[in-house]
Symmetry: C2
Subunit: 218 residues, 2 copies
């Protein structure tokens, strides 16, 4: 599959490399065409990896990962272009973290709205699915790096798009039972507002290498 990964940070590089390793063709997108981090990534990731502008990547991909910083996501997607995004599945991994008020970060949007919904409103034809934003990037692409069962969440308005994302998550190593569909895209308010607790648990345990298991009564 041809996949666009927008964002050249750790999240984008980790997801891009995983996808290339799975046999997908990946174009990493960034603001400027000659982004050095993207070039270095593509060189290391191999023949199926390439890079370009956000627009180049969005045009290339049949599916688009948004791995940009939450504060810059809407601008990045505008640069990617509504026509290039079209009605593609847009997997939103970003979090609207606000580091401007000090640590730990607060949220730029929350409560009665979410970044995923903001993106969906800006690009009404795109099939936005919120996924993987609830954990550190090494866990996203290698769930078996943690012991036992743990969970990842889906939120989105298009059932077919969520099935597509389930397929990708399966390739990443998530078992079907580990993927919890929380419903429509308003559920992204839940997964984004998990971040303030995630950050505190990271602070208390001293590690980002964790996730949550939903433990239910038998």
């Amino acid at each position: 599959m041809k996949i666009a990964v927008l964002g050249t940070g750790e999240v984008g590089q980790t997801i891009g490399s995983k996808l290339v390793g799975l046999g997908h063709e990946v174009k990493l997108g960034s603001r400027a065409a000659g982004n050095q981090k993207a070039a270095a990534w593509a060189k290391k990731a191999g023949a199926k990896a390439s890079y370009g502008t956000f627009a180049d990547a969005a045009k290339f991909g049949d599916l688009v990962f948004n791995c940009t910083l939450g504060a810059a996501s809407v601008e990045a997607l505008k640069a990617a272009g509504e026509a290039n995004l079209g009605s593609k599945v847009l997997i939103d991994v970003s979090n609207p973290l606000d580091f401007s008020k000090g640590m730990p970060p607060s949220l730029l949007v929350c409560n009665t709205d979410s970044l995923a919904e903001t993106i969906q409103r800006a690009f009404p034809k795109a099939k936005v699915v919120k996924a993987l934003n609830t954990m550190a990037n090494p866990v996203m692409v290698n769930p078996r790096s943690l012991p036992g069962t743990h969970h990842t969440f889906l939120a989105g308005n298009d059932a077919g798009a969520k099935e597509t994302v389930r397929g990708i998550l399966g390739q990443f190593g998530w078992t079907p039972e580990e993927v919890l569909d929380l419903g429509d895209l308003t559920a992204a308010r839940g997964t984004e507002q998990w971040l303030p607790l995630w950050v505190r648990i990271m602070g208390a345990t001293g590690s980002a290498m964790f996730n949550i298991r939903v433990v239910a009564a038998k």
Copy 2:
């Protein structure tokens, strides 16, 4: 120990009954002295159970549980009275849920503030500890109703008060490893903002009888 439980809803009754079962003397507090729910609870809960106004309860208890609705907590605590609350340990179990905008609920306070901090500012001498607000009340007092290890969180500015709460949680059946201290009271922003995700998981799984286990890399 003499313990005040403010709030006659399910959370207050469940915690009150558990505390009586553990041998504590419990006074359930409510807005009006002759609250019928409180009277019925006290009759059922036995000789160590009593009830009264918020002020009666707060005066009685050496330790105070706030189990009122989040939207009404500050008013309830004002009725309890600053002098009666004094410098007691105040365990805040409430959540600032706003049901006025429809379901699922949003939050009345979040992001750069929390209900626990609001309460602490209103009663600066009280030793507010946020605890147990991240799960349904049957799980709070009976963690072994769920299989395996799962976690509960503490946030508060007073180390001694958090130790007192750890002791109570231990009596409820939480093992020491299951109690994660997230730091000062600003961490309540994290545990309160977990609620929007909790509500979505409840909706997706069809049951409130769950909690989360923090699964960390070995």
